[in-house]
Amino acid sequence: MPTLSSRYLGLDLAHPVIASASPLSASFDGMRRLEDAGAAGVVMASLYEEQVRFEDTRYATMTEYVAGSNAEAATYFPELPDYRHGASGHIETLRRAADALDIPVIASLNGISDDGWLDLAVELEQAGAAALELNICLVPTDFRITGADIEQRYLDIVRHVKSRIALPVSVKLPPFFAALGNLVEKLQAAGADGVVLFNSIPRTEIDLDAFGVARSAALSSAGDIHLPLLWTTLLSGCVRLSLAAGGGVDGHADVARLLLAGADVVATTSALLRHGPAHLTALVEGLDGWLAENGFQSVAEIRGRLDAAHCGRPDMSMHSEYARARMLADFAFLDSARTAGS
């Protein structure tokens, strides 16, 4: 039996497949189900500062706007002793999950303001999160903002958060940076303990019937794995921080591909949403089988085996054709390895 144990953000995991932030990990029961299905760790659904603000404002508005205006009824709602802000329930769920689950529960945070990032990060740490994933999503609708500004914002957030909490911190990144490798190196210098490749960008649609613009969460599909594969291969071996990769993982072969590319863990969302949490079991068992079939003794043995190992080479963008061809060849290895053993 191959050894599946893995390490991510300093956390020891039974195997390298974790459930990433999704509606499945929003509730205690959901996280319990993911654990039962065999996840090595779970990233709780993101806490959005925007949502906290909205709930605060809504709760305050709805409870306050009718208060103090009537002799018979000073208020219309009971005091909720445990309500501190719109994140109280999220924090409470994290606390329960962290207490009850045997696997690490990684919190995920999407902030807006400096205070929001810091205060909520501290609360998530105090609630027992094993690590914190910064789900940074900046869409520069103000065109005066440069790419450098955006990168600086990422770095500032990491520095601020790291200065306040002792937890390992990973940064979930979108793929659309002009020089992602450089940014990851800077993030590492700023104190990040890991990066997650990649964030999904909400899908924009235009509804011809409603004559309006709609945005929806995007589920990745099998073909989407190439971007995380590309950047995992490029980053693996060149940076010290942990690498989580996901997006487009459908079967165990995709898990193996990302591990070969250099991922410390493989994070999956869409496949679980599509097939249900039990699909995790299939991924892990499939990986186990593949390793055994191919004569590997451990995950460690394959991790990063096919990374680009380009560190110190000239700028990759100048050699894109070369890189593409190299990678295609690398991936072809997977199939040949299946039949030929290591």
């Binding site: 509730s27 404002t57 009537n70 009824a73 709602f77 005091e79 002793p81 501190r84 719109g86 409470e92």
Partner: protein
């Protein structure tokens, strides 16, 4: 240790002790005692423990009668038990109180004493409730201040344990229960020291136990009852001494000494006033002033222990020099030789004199004051002292009113002011939703936060539920504030809505040189010209300083909506100079953070921004030396209005209600209807504007309007002749009326701006979906156009009812609403049903209305929305109680039926004189359609005309009864608190009676009027007061319970889901010859939704299946068909889709997501199962239902 000083209200002060010294609280919500029970519930939820380390249980019951029963049982079970109540609720406890006292059960009832409804209901304070308990055997102990509400609650608790006599511990409703004042809290260890655990164990030992069984509650025969009744007498003899002992023990612990009767004043006083409650502080201060400034020998005797009455202690407390005594009672006992306290004092003297213990009787007179929180101030107190100077002071006097009927009232010297110059007096006129009251409550806390500083806050509210005003009365100073009366003069006046200056004399109390802060849409340069002339005159004459800030604009820009409180509070501190500015700002921020910490950082942050922005936007107005304005303060009396509106309504609206004399009022509580239309409240920022081109004339905007401000008429084309340009109309789009036009009129000045009409309009612009056939626009731009257009609209006749299609919404929009412009909340979910009721049956409608929201916006003076048509007909309305409304309505039915029968028999008898044909037609009239009613009314008119020519008693009697030939529509209306809880027994009985009576339940699923307590209609998982962690039981299926009778028409409707269905159900219910009940989904502010979208939310309730629509019509069973029709489709959205929009559901998800999710899934399963049951019923054939009762 130094005792902690806090600023709290009397209710909090008393509940603090009750909570710490009791184990069980059995309660039912009623003003003004609600906060005590709510605090106990909140403390329990927070895990605060009593002095024995336990968390007391707070058990809400179905009524106060139930609370008393549970309390009695708990006492018999050995638990330390209490209740919090007042007024009508307290009266419901009386039967049990005889039992509780008869069995010598130790307990304390905490009562925020309140008026009992007589010719009218009042939620305000007096002693008429507690005085009605004198015979129960309970003792009565009274506090006069917030501090005493705290201290004496503990004395009561300690004394009842030792003396075994249960005690009513009371203080004045609102004046003390709601007054915020500085209080020294008794530390828990001192509370602990006051309670003897040996006595607690003795109490427990007396409890019922099968281990040592005894029997209580026996029945006696004439041979023994009397003796047994006397057996407990020695306990009453001992009780005063025990109470005094507890007072002495408290004094040892706290240095605050109380006595059964506390005298203050001149040691050789000749004139003494005796009283109970908050008046004592007014009398004390006045007596001290008269002694110091006029050398008068006057004094005050406070009665603290009223029952058991200790005559010796009373006499001992009075100075021997006393020659004249006035006894003040805060209650009226009609027909009695005097009010209770007066008679007790008189009999004490008489007994002492007759036994030779005193040499002479002093002059003793009695008087009434302060009924229903009528203010009692030093000027009135002085009037009483002055009256005693007379050789023959008036007995049975009143003070505080002008009694120009029985001439009992004492003359009062207005302007008599004894307040200390070193206290700051501030008055704030706030708008209901702006948070002024909350901010001022914080201000009192800030100002009393340091040793040696004292503060008092008292808050007065309008009775409207939308666009209401609040008046905050604040005092601050270096000495304890003993002034439980309204400010008559102020150093600072905050006018938090500009329009108030036009509505009432807001600046009247301004002292010379006072500061005025005005929330103004006009800047410092513009504002002077926008002031009414009267205000300018006051500013100039009194050399007032005027400051302006556009707080509404600042609040809006910061995302605070209408909450201008923090901004204006900051301005107050900046201007009043009560604290150094920097210190004040820091204190406001600290208090803001404390207040809003639980609402989240975002809210704290916005309020901090508001504090910073306030000072930047505050400007002083450079004042001209003379008055220039041509604008005048508005008065209804300026227009052509009925005398009642001029003499009663207008003074009340302009805050001069205290000046209305007795003669202006009806002797029996009978008031004219149709008075809201004179108010023209102009409270909406935005009002709907009709677009005739886009309109499809469907009537949806009109039917959902809670305030009847959208009305439709049709008229012949020439009806537009002479119409002003502002009058809009369109060709009618119904077939067959080529020459008719349609018009939709918005009553701009009566609109609350809720926007429900706009959200319910189905007609969108093809080029811009945001534009509909009705759209919100600024009110100010619409007022003049509205006035002109309304004048023309009102001149057009209403549609002939016999030609209106009652079968659909499009048709009924043309019926005149006889319920208009209620003071209900903007977007109220109840009011549209009442308006529809008035449109359908208004001219023959007789309503029994349970106490609750609908009785407040329906009948709280000064105005009523119930009105009349051009013929003078309209709904006749009355309210009996909260708990008896169904029975009350049944009484209507019995009376109507009996008199109708008498009329029919007289008509038969007089047929030869009246004409056989006419009488037969009268007797056999079908009276189903509007044409039937129209013809019948003509017959009645003919009958009356003929009867005028017939002599004899029979003719005279028939003339008096002739109107009964028109079939009346009797409706019992009320909320779910009535129908599901307190009135359920009666409602059930009425449903079982088979009588032709209709019941409309305005089902908000919560006690709305008293502030959102859970009822049995509250759904599983909803958070409500007394169910803060989510209600754990499902909502009672009242509809199925009614259906079980078989002969009751039952409908469940939701106007927002299907207005057509509501219309049909209400008509079917009315037409059903037997009992009918309509459960009407009513969205409410207590749900925590944006009321603009309330109808949409109701639609979601139905779509989710939590509120399915159905009708059960026994008439169909009679015809062999299935009487149950399920009228809404299967659930098509998850329950969560509906619930996520409401605070009552999602607040719980924010704090306890797992439990909330669990309850949500339970509720989802429950509704699915319930829906399956309904489907099963709907799928049966008619034979599988109970036979119709008439067929049995």
């Amino acid at each position: 240790m130094t005792p902690k000083t806090v600023v709290v209200a009397g209710n909090t002060a008393a509940a603090h002790i009750a909570y710490r010294t009791d184990e069980v609280c059995a309660i039912y919500p009623i003003a003004p005692s609600c906060p005590m029970a709510e605090l106990a519930d909140a403390w329990a939820a927070e895990g605060i423990r009593n002095i024995w380390g336990q968390i007391p249980v707070v058990q809400q019951m179905e009524s106060e009668a139930g609370a008393a029963g549970a309390l009695h049982g708990s006492l018999q079970g050995g638990a330390l038990t209490t209740t919090f109540t007042a007024s009508q609720g307290f009266l419901l406890m009386l039967p049990n109180m005889y039992k509780i006292a008869g069995e010598l059960n130790s307990c304390v009832f905490h009562v925020a004493a309140r008026a009992v409804a007589t010719n009218a209901l009042s939620i305000f304070g007096d002693h008429s409730d507690v005085m009605s308990a004198r015979m129960t055997g309970f003792g009565l102990l009274a506090a006069s201040s917030v501090q005493e509400a705290h201290d004496l609650a503990l004395v009561a608790r300690a004394a009842t344990l030792e003396g075994r006599i249960p005690l009513i511990f009371f203080f004045d409703g609102f004046r003390t229960s709601h007054e915020e004042n500085t209080v020294t809290l008794i530390p828990d260890e001192q509370i602990r020291a006051m309670i003897d655990d040996e006595l607690v164990r003795a109490h427990r030992a007396r409890a019922l136990s099968p281990e040592h069984p005894v029997l209580r509650g026996t029945a006696h025969n004439p041979d023994t009852y009397f003796q047994a009744r006397e057996a407990a007498h020695p306990f009453y003899e001992k009780m005063p001494g025990i109470v005094q002992k507890a007072m002495d023990r408290l004094a040892t612990l706290t240095s605050r000494q109380y006595r059964l009767f506390r005298y203050s004043g001149h040691p050789e006083a000749e004139r003494v006033v005796v009283a109970i409650g908050s008046a004592i502080e007014v009398l004390d201060e006045t007596a001290a002033w008269l002694g110091a400034n006029a050398g008068e020998k006057v004094g005050v005797l406070q009665v603290i222990l009223y029952r058991p009455w200790d005559g010796d202690a009373f006499l001992a407390a009075l100075p021997k020099t006393t020659k004249a005594i006035a006894v003040l009672d805060r209650t009226k006992e009609s027909g009695s030789p005097g009010e209770p306290l007066y008679l007790d004092v008189l009999s004490t003297f008489a007994a002492a004199f007759s036994r030779g213990r005193i040499a002479a009787m002093p002059m003793v007179v009695g008087g009434r004051y302060g009924i229903a929180s009528k203010d009692f101030d030093p000027a009135m107190a002085k009037a009483v002292f002055d009256e005693l100077k007379k050789p023959q002071p008036r007995n049975g006097f009143t003070v505080g009113i002008e009694d120009d009927v029985s001439h009992t009232s004492l003359a009062v010297e207005r302007g008599f002011d004894i307040e200390s110059a070193d206290s700051v007096r501030a008055l704030f006129y706030g708008l209901g939703a702006d948070g002024t009251v909350g901010a001022n409550q914080n201000s009192t806390k800030i100002l009393a936060s340091e040793p040696g500083r004292y503060a008092q806050g008292y808050f007065v509210y309008d009775s409207k539920k939308s666009g209401s005003y609040t008046i905050s009365h604040l005092r601050f100073g270096p000495k304890p504030i003993r002034a439980p009366y309204l400010l008559k003069a102020a150093n600072f006046i905050g006018v938090h809505k500009f329009d108030f200056l036009f509505k009432f004399d807001a600046l009247a109390p301004a002292l010379p040189g006072a500061t005025v802060l005005l929330n103004s849409p006009y800047n410092a340069a513009e504002v002077w010209d926008q002031l009414p002339r009267e205000a300018q005159q006051q500013i100039v004459d009194r050399r007032l300083r005027l400051f302006v800030i556009d707080a509404s604009k600042v609040a809006y820009s910061l995302g605070l909506g209408s909450r201008t409180n923090t901004i204006l509070q900051t301005c107050f501190f900046a201007l009043s100079g009560v604290l150094p500015r920097a210190q004040a700002i820091a204190a406001i921020k600290a208090e803001t953070e404390r207040t809003y910490a639980r609402k989240g950082k975002e809210v704290v942050k916005k309020n901090f921004e508001a504090i910073d922005e306030a000072l930047a936007n505050l400007f002083e107005v450079k004042l001209p030396a003379k008055v220039t304005s041509t604008l005048r303060r508005r008065s209804l009396a300026d227009g052509a209005v009925p005398a009642f509106v001029r003499d009663v309504v207008d003074p009340i609206l302009t805050l001069r209600g205290d000046e209305v004399p007795v003669s202006a009022f009806p002797v029996d509580g009978t008031y004219p209807t149709g008075t809201t239309k004179y108010e023209k409240r102009n409270i909406a920022e935005q009002v709907p504007v009709w677009d005739p081109d886009l309109c499809i004339q469907c009537g949806q905007c009109s039917i959902v309007c809670p305030h009847s401000v959208i009305r439709a008429k049709t008229f012949a084309a020439n009806g537009a002749d002479g119409a002003p340009a502002e009058f809009k109309s369109a060709p009618i789009n119904a077939r067959g009326y080529p020459d008719s036009r349609y018009t939709l009129q918005i009553y701009v000045e009566d609109c609350t701006g809720c926007g429900v009409c706009v959200e319910n309009c189905p007609s969108h612009s093809p080029v811009d979906a945001a534009i509909r056939a009705i759209n919100m626009k600024p009110r100010l731009e619409q007022i003049e156009a509205g006035r002109k257009s309304i004048a023309h609209f009102e001149a057009l006749p209403w549609a002939d009812r016999s030609r209106v299609n009652f079968a659909n919404v499009r048709g009924v929009q043309f019926l005149q609403p006889l319920f208009e412009f209620p003071g209900a909340c903007a977007g109220c979910g109840e009011a549209p049903y009442l308006k529809l009721l008035s449109q359908l049956f208004g001219d023959r409608l007789q309503i029994a209305n349970a106490t609750g929201c609908s009785s407040i916006y329906g009948a709280n003076l000064p105005t009523t929305p119930w009105t009349k048509n051009a013929q003078g007909r309209g709904p006749a309305w009355s309210n009996s109680l909260f708990e008896d409304n169904a029975e009350f309505g049944l009484g209507y039915r019995l009376a109507i039926d009996r008199q109708t029968e008498l009329a029919r028999s007289l008509a038969r008898k007089l047929a030869p004189q009246l004409g056989e044909d006419l009488v037969r037609a009268l007797l056999e009239a079908p009276q189903v359609t509007e044409s039937d009613f129209e013809v019948q009314r003509r017959r009645v008119a003919e009958l009356k005309a003929k009867l005028a020519a017939v002599s004899g008693d029979d003719a005279a009697n028939l003339l008096a009864l002739a109107d009964f030939f028109v079939r009346r529509s009797v409706w019992c209306v009320g909320g779910d608190g009535w129908a599901y809880d307190i009135g359920y027994g009666g409602l059930d009985h009425v449903l079982a009676s088979g009588q032709d009576i209709n019941i409309l339940v305005l089902d908000t699923e919560v006690y709305s009027n008293t502030g959102g307590q859970a009822s049995k209609a509250t759904p599983l998982g909803a958070s409500a007061k007394f169910a803060a962690a989510g209600k754990r039981s499902p909502r009672k299926d009242l509809a199925m319970m009614a259906i079980a009778y078989g002969n009751v028409y039952v409908a469940q409707v939701a106007m927002g889901a299907n207005s057509e269905h509501t219309l049909i159900a209400m008509r079917e219910a009315e037409a059903h010859h037997g009992p009918s009940i309509v459960l009407a989904y009513s969205q409410c502010i207590a749900h925590g939704i944006d009321m603009r979208f309330g109808m949409k939310q109701a639609a979601r309730a139905t779509a989710s299946g939590t509120w399915p629509l159905f009708r059960f019509d026994p008439g169909m069973r009679q015809r062999g068909m299935n009487p149950f029709r399920l009228d809404s489709p299967r659930p098509r959205i998850p329950l969560e889709e509906y619930r996520k929009n409401e605070v009552r559901f999602n607040a719980l998800a924010l704090t306890h997501p797992t439990e909330a999710r669990h309850m949500l899934s339970q509720a989802q399963l429950a509704l699915e199962e319930k829906y399956r049951n309904y489907e099963d019923l709907a799928a049966r054939d008619g034979s599988r239902f109970l036979p119709h009762w008439e067929d049995i």
